[in-house]
């Protein structure tokens, strides 16, 4: 599948894919391994948000519920059953997909700011449940000491765990890419562009949106699961609305509707936060906020989106497949 797509898009695609994979594998050699794992997890999380925001036209402000919910669920499975961590992460992802069903069912009828507000409200409900249900979640203290069990392998070194967690992230990103490029994904794009016309063509719009919502939640859940096992920790921070906001910010920085842009946004934000915190600069928000404003003002397509736009416009007219899958208007009508 990858091969045909790459053959169609030419040499550039190959190079980018190889460069991306090399970067993903080289990351823990270049930077502090726990930070590398954070970047990988946030990249998948951002991609899951982009799947909704960039391709379905739904700005979810409640994805923390899935990221953090899965972190708890994964942690509980790993802590109480002692199962190997891949099982725990899968459990977390399934749990979030199930959690996303009722939430999505009630919120996909809305769009724009109303959808954002309703998802935010649900996420805050999850936050308070996690805060109050202390016997299970540990409340303020969070879940501590989540084991990294994998058939007796010693993964206590973050450097090795990065490579244990990476396949989940790559699989998640691949799934997101497949979803976007599938006929199902095309329908989502058409719903984003014009829901009424999609409905007139006979597509059950709400059902498509719900499916996209659940898939996106499962991806966010996978990311959250890897994150919680990686840190050995699940906390309220993960289900708090700022986490949702951070993911949305990464998507906007990287470029809405680009899927890979989220990874760039994640790398930028996580590295920046790490750098500023180690440099003893307390007001991280000022710097990240400034960068955010600059990017939004100067590169309206986001970092990756702008780069891709330049490449596409400079190249001779792209193949029809590219034009369909990479609509140039994607940034201008995000919500």
């Amino acid at each position: 599948m990858i091969l045909t797509r790459l053959a169609r898009s030419g040499r550039g695609g190959w190079l980018l894919l190889v460069a991306g994979l090399v970067a993903a594998f080289a990351l823990p050699w270049l930077i502090y391994p726990p930070v590398a794992l954070d970047i990988a997890c946030w990249a998948l999380f951002a991609a899951s948000v982009d799947l909704l925001l960039g391709f379905t036209g739904l700005l979810s402000f409640g994805h923390a519920a899935f990221w953090g919910g899965s972190a708890y669920c994964t942690g509980l499975i790993a802590l109480h059953t002692g199962m190997p961590f891949p099982v725990a992460i899968a459990g977390g992802a399934v749990f979030t997909a199930l959690l996303a069903l009722p939430i999505g069912f009630l919120s996909v009828r809305l769009s724009g700011i109303y959808f954002a507000m309703v998802t935010l409200a649900f996420a805050q409900m999850i936050y308070f449940v996690a805060n109050q249900w202390r016997d299970v979640t540990g409340g303020e203290n969070g879940l501590q000491g989540i084991p990294r069990e994998l058939f007796g392998l010693d993964l206590s070194d973050s450097f090795f765990f990065y490579y244990a967690g990476l396949p989940f992230v790559l699989a998640g990103l691949f799934a997101a890419w497949r979803i976007v490029r599938s006929p199902f994904g095309r329908v989502l794009v058409s719903i984003r562009a014009n829901p009424d016309r999609a409905r007139a063509l006979g597509y059950p719009v709400d059902r498509y949106k719900l499916q996209a919502f659940v898939l996106s939640a499962a991806l966010a859940g996978t990311a959250g699961g890897v994150f919680s096992v990686g840190h050995g920790f699940a906390s309220l921070e993960g289900v708090y609305w700022t986490t949702s906001g951070q993911a949305v910010m990464m998507v906007i920085l990287g470029g809405i509707g680009t899927l890979w842009g989220g990874a760039i946004g994640a790398a930028l934000i996580v590295q920046l936060q790490d750098f500023l915190a180690t440099a003893g600069f307390a007001e991280t928000g000022i710097i990240t906020g400034t960068i955010f404003i600059v990017v939004v003002l100067l590169f309206r397509r986001g970092i990756w989106g702008t780069a891709r736009h330049l490449l596409i416009t400079r190249r001779t007219p792209a193949t029809p497949a590219d034009v369909a899958a990479e609509p140039k208007k994607s940034v201008d009508t995000p919500v």
Binding site: N141, G142, Q144, G232, A282, A307, L311
Partner: protein, 413 residues
């Protein structure tokens, strides 16, 4: 675009090769990485920034200077560094910062860590990495109970000390009926439980106890309820801390509850809180502290040195961190190495007598520092003779009574 990408790759490969040069040092060296690194991990921007925060780093640096002055050339390590990080009171950040301090900054010990949830996170990391962690800032007794481990020490105070000092002593003094308000999170709940137990033990009654949202700036519902309770409470026990406490005390004064016969006792009060509220706002309030800068000559001498460096008087927290850092360095000196297992062995059961810890021992079974605590009262401004001189010590609670008499059986080191 692509060109810069490849350039980046080359640069990165260069970095990678450079990084591989310095692998971890040999296992048999006495002092790891050729230096001892003390790391302060605490709140430098939030509600506990004044109680410990950046000043604590100064206090720890003073400990290093004093240690070097004492041993000179005979010191076990020539180089002693102090690093720090801000955990913003969030367990998640504490978790990753602690890993980073131990790994990237070669920290041999982490100090301070206020906020119990953050302290638990660091304790778990310390256990996994087999590195020493001396907690000063967190109150929870679980650090020497369920969450205890071989490499974690609890140094200074805990909720038992606060509850049995303030709760029991104030009750014995005749304020039998209590109304407790506590912030609705781990620390507040823990304090409410230990205070209630201590009050009952001393023959008092808790008329009512109410959780408040956290953080919160309007306490009027709870304060106005107090005088109308049946039986009328003689004292409100507030477990709020930091900014919440400041709000609560201001409102307590606005409603003139002291004139209505309802006194105030504070679970956790720091010198910095009194300083920001003004001593009149808290005059007559009783609380338990682990140290007071103007209590005697020895404390005062150190506080003067601290004042010369920072222009402020130290809180008990800062003094405790000084003492913890100094005792850690002494343990390294005694053992001749900063190897964690050896340092733990040197600290366990060790008797300490310094300007902070009086009649003190580190209990070997649960790594809790037992030392004298002080029942104190805030003076009205008319009695305050110099800046920061806000408190008079009413009574010294001996080390044997100030803390849990027996180690928690839940603790298995």
């Amino acid at each position: 675009m692509r060109v810069t990408g490849w350039g980046g790759c080359l640069a990165a490969t260069g970095l990678l090769l450079a990084g591989c040069g310095g692998g971890p040092g040999g296992g048999d060296e006495k002092i790891s990485d050729g230096k001892v690194v003390l790391a302060v991990l605490n709140d430098q921007s939030g509600i506990y920034a004044d109680t410990s925060g950046r000043q604590t780093i100064e206090a720890v640096k003073m400990a290093v200077t004093d240690f070097q002055a004492k041993y000179g050339d005979k010191a076990a390590s020539k180089t002693i560094e102090v690093k720090d990080a801000d955990h913003q009171n969030k367990p998640e950040i504490a978790n990753s910062k602690a890993q980073e301090l131990y790994d990237r900054q070669q920290a041999d010990v982490i100090l301070d860590v206020p906020t119990s949830s953050a302290a638990f996170a660091v304790a778990t990391i310390a256990k996994n990495k087999k590195k020493v962690f001396i907690d000063v800032g967190a109150a929870s007794t679980e650090l020497e109970g369920k969450q205890c481990n071989k490499y974690t020490f609890h140094y200074g105070y805990n909720s038992y000390m606060l509850a049995h000092g303030t709760g029991a002593e104030v009750t014995k003094d005749g304020s039998k009926n209590w109304y407790i308000v506590y912030p609705d999170y781990a620390f507040g709940q823990d304090m409410q439980k230990t205070f209630s137990a201590a009050i009952k033990e001393a023959g008092g009654t808790v008329v009512a106890s109410d959780p408040t949202p956290f953080p919160n700036d309007n306490f009027s519902t709870f304060l106005l309820k107090a005088p109308n309770l049946d039986p009328k409470p003689q004292v409100i026990g507030t477990m709020q801390a930091g900014g919440d406490l400041v709000n609560l005390v201001k409102q307590y004064n606005e409603y003139k509850l002291r004139d209505k016969g309802v006194g105030l006792a504070v679970g956790l009060l720091a010198l910095s809180d009194i300083h920001s509220l003004g001593s009149d706002a808290l005059a007559g309030t009783r609380y338990t502290d682990m140290w007071y800068w103007n209590a005697d000559e020895k404390s005062r001498a150190w506080a003067d040195k601290f004042h010369a460096k920072t222009g402020k008087r130290p809180t008990a927290n800062m003094a405790a961190n000084y003492s913890a850092a100094l005792q850690y360095l002494e343990a390294v000196q005694r053992g001749g190495t900063d190897n964690s297992d050896e340092v733990v062995k040197q600290l366990e059961g060790h008797k300490i007598e310094d300007m902070f810890a009086r009649n003190a021992t580190i209990r070997a079974q649960d790594h809790l520092l037992l030392h004298d605590a002080y029942l104190s009262e805030v003076k009205p401004s008319s009695e305050v003779k110099e800046p920061y001189d806000y408190v008079k010590v009413l009574k010294t609670i001996p080390a044997s009574e100030a803390f849990q008499p027996r180690p928690d059986p839940a603790c298995r080191l």
